[in-house]
Symmetry: C3
Amino acid sequence: MPSPTRSVTLVLGGARSGKSRHAEGLIEAHPAPWLYVATAQAYDDEMRARIAEHRARRGEGWQTVDAPVDLAGAIASAPAGMPILVDCLTLWLTNLLLAEADIPAARAALAAACRQAKGQLVLVSNEVGLGIVPDNALARRFRDEAGRLHQELAADANHVVFMVAGLPMIVK
Amino acid sequence: MPSPTRSVTLVLGGARSGKSRHAEGLIEAHPAPWLYVATAQAYDDEMRARIAEHRARRGEGWQTVDAPVDLAGAIASAPAGMPILVDCLTLWLTNLLLAEADIPAARAALAAACRQAKGQLVLVSNEVGLGIVPDNALARRFRDEAGRLHQELAADANHVVFMVAGLPMIVK
Amino acid sequence: MPSPTRSVTLVLGGARSGKSRHAEGLIEAHPAPWLYVATAQAYDDEMRARIAEHRARRGEGWQTVDAPVDLAGAIASAPAGMPILVDCLTLWLTNLLLAEADIPAARAALAAACRQAKGQLVLVSNEVGLGIVPDNALARRFRDEAGRLHQELAADANHVVFMVAGLPMIVK
């Protein structure tokens, strides 16, 4: 059997811009089964509702693993060649910040896992840096770290898209 | 007389990105008279100043109807073939939220009116989902609803543009 | 000696989108020496850290002038043909607002200086208008003025790019 081609796609966009749906479509263009790597931790009802909505939309063929913190490990231990959707980096980064984790080390580990992925890998993340500078220092740190993360992953990615109103604009 | 071609354009962009000006140019490329569907309700002086500035820029050839809530009705009852500019969906959605209207029903009615438009229809809306998650629950709900609205309208639109510094980037 | 070609590039993007690095690359494609026009005023430690990080990244070949307010003057008095990087317009506009300066006059003077530039001129600025409308009146005024400034400069610029995750999307 030929080994599948490695391809990493970074799907960026704002709130409700259709990132998850687009990313799922990219993965489902390949044969099932597909691996859904979930980073969400349900802290409140609003988050629980979002997680339920996303799960309900995914149909058969999806396997789910939770990776709120060790995202690099989840990618590295996926079955070789199984298409992987990571949804989303924003929540993963939030988890790291709340856990006071070593962000540069986690970012480097994730970048390495992406470079070593064996098949299709699609990463979803929110673009959060295009508004007014937040008053809140943690929010400012978050958007700085999100920007650094996106730059590092985009540099190595095969494809980068920026979602607007459910439609992908090709960045790379 | 040949019936005019139906064409729906969604003009998205940030604050002061030149959305209205670009949209007016798209409409004015067709023969007058043109219909301006205004959704603004002046709650304060800042809003009154913006409305006055927009009106002053539009010259002869424009007819104005106010549609702060029943936007689908205003589009449906426009004279057949008259080019229509809706400015803007953001304020319309704000009016609906403040009135505690049924947003999914209003969104579906607007999408249907767009599909049944008989000539040129240009819809202006603010992209508001690219900053940090707002603290305020109403603001979070607003940007979620705006995102859903944009996705639904963009799926059916003939053209979607994302304005940056007064210049249109082609999304669709 | 042939006079160098005038070319003005506006580099827009969100926080940590790689604007400065991209702009430096555009300038460094031309022969040194290069002029760095710094608009930053260090009000606090966070800002001092950012300035230090940017300075450390620039290597030999760069000369720096500070122009927190008189940006048009700094551009006009640069040695003829020396490539100029202005980083960034966002901080310059902040300085003007804090000084209660005449913004339309300053914007017109800057636009004129750009039209009269003799060589390569690259201007970096933050896109800040794509989030929820800020509660704060000064923040709303700031994003309106930033939008007006970007539109005016983009109209005359030879190139406009919108940075996403360190990658330039071509706007013009």
